[in-house]
Symmetry: C2
Subunit: 235 residues, 2 copies
């Protein structure tokens, strides 16, 4: 049986062996949800950047630029970090350069894995099917919030561990804990998460529609995967 | 209302503000359980050390020395990390110097707090009463396993957060998650934890009796607290 484990913070990822494994990076509110929405609505590729400056420079190369810090659109960027902005194919055919507070860091710290996928609730089942078609163990890499554990990424990790249980043993402590937590709270994620710190931050920004989108299951059948050069595309 | 939050690893404790707060350090299997057992059975004080060498040197000053690495008694030490060894007052009246894989590191990284307590299931209720008699917010600092999340420390943290709910809000994501997990699994900790990696490691060492002891609630009414010079005593 293959195995699944969970890393709760990019600050702990060095403690997990990634070599030969599939890493699923997750930043539910909102980077990886936004990436999945963008790819599902015709964005052809996404490149992620740690710094605002590097990201902004991509505009000169014809990229749409999206920059978020602390939940808000960064100054000088066309887009922030809202998945809703990409719906209805508004940016179909464009290439996207993106930088966010937590999600893009988690992607950059996942190097060394056999494959890097982008996790979100709107394509959960598709991601599960893809993982189950492969032979690798899985590490779910939660972006967290500025290095700290967060509830929404951890619950997605629990949902993934639970859904993989026929093929991937959840023997590692983080996977055991979050699988059990998802069994308890997964029937009503929105209510449970409404108590969480990050959901409260988002509510303060009046982006209830983003939260609803990010917690909707299986809107899309695509998988978000980084290619060998680190470019995110749908497969 | 006061607040309670959970830090899942000494590698993340720098992300938590400790100033003015009560920090409860927990290493269920077995450092903090052993400390509580020792104090309850007449050990007069405990000093903790990061290195085996510093700890061993305390023998010359009349201290009983206990050293553990990777679950086993370290070479040249009288005692390892078993709480059972202290029962029946075998070492009553002695001073103890102790070094362990995870627990002593978590203590040393808790400096800056208003008070540092040692958490264990055998004195859970006493610790709760003490915390509730004070005005401070609480950070529960899980020792984890070599920097990683572990299940037993996190469940203790959940039990503490749950028990404090009348006085301390669990709004922080880690506290929310572990309070909910304890609500689901707290009725039979031993079965749930028997799946966990560290419990399996301990079972391999034939220390089932230690596990039973570490998961027994409210044997003692003492509180383990570090004094201003970093010496652990019961109050």
């Amino acid at each position: 049986m293959r195995k699944v484990e969970i890393c709760f913070s990019p600050e702990l990822i060095h403690l997990h062996e990634l070599s030969g494994k599939i890493v699923v990076v997750v930043d539910i509110f909102r980077a990886t949800s936004t990436m999945v929405a963008a790819l599902a609505n015709g964005v052809t590729e996404i490149r992620t950047f740690a710094s605002l400056e590097e990201c902004k420079a991509m505009a000169a190369r014809g990229f749409l630029i999206a920059g978020e810090r602390n939940g808000l659109t960064a100054e000088g960027f066309e887009l922030g970090n809202s998945p809703i902005a990409y719906l209805n194919g508004t940016y179909a055919g464009r290439k996207l350069a993106m930088t966010t507070t937590n999600g893009t860091l988690a992607i950059s710290k996942s190097h060394g894995a056999a494959e890097i996928l982008i996790g979100a609730f709107p394509n959960l089942s598709a991601t599960i099917q893809y993982i189950q078609s492969k032979d690798q163990d899985v590490v779910i890499h939660c972006a967290g919030w500025k290095g700290r554990f967060n509830l929404e990424d951890s619950l997605y990790a629990g949902a993934l561990a639970k859904s993989l249980e026929s093929t991937h043993a959840a023997e590692e402590d983080g996977a055991l804990a979050m699988k059990a937590l998802y069994e308890k709270e997964g029937h009503d994620l929105k209510t449970f998460l409404s108590q969480a710190s990050h959901a409260k931050r988002l509510q303060n920004h009046n982006i209830e529609a983003d939260i609803d989108f990010c917690l909707t299951l299986d809107l899309y059948s695509l998988i978000g995967r980084l290619d060998a050069s680190g470019v995110l595309k749908s497969i």
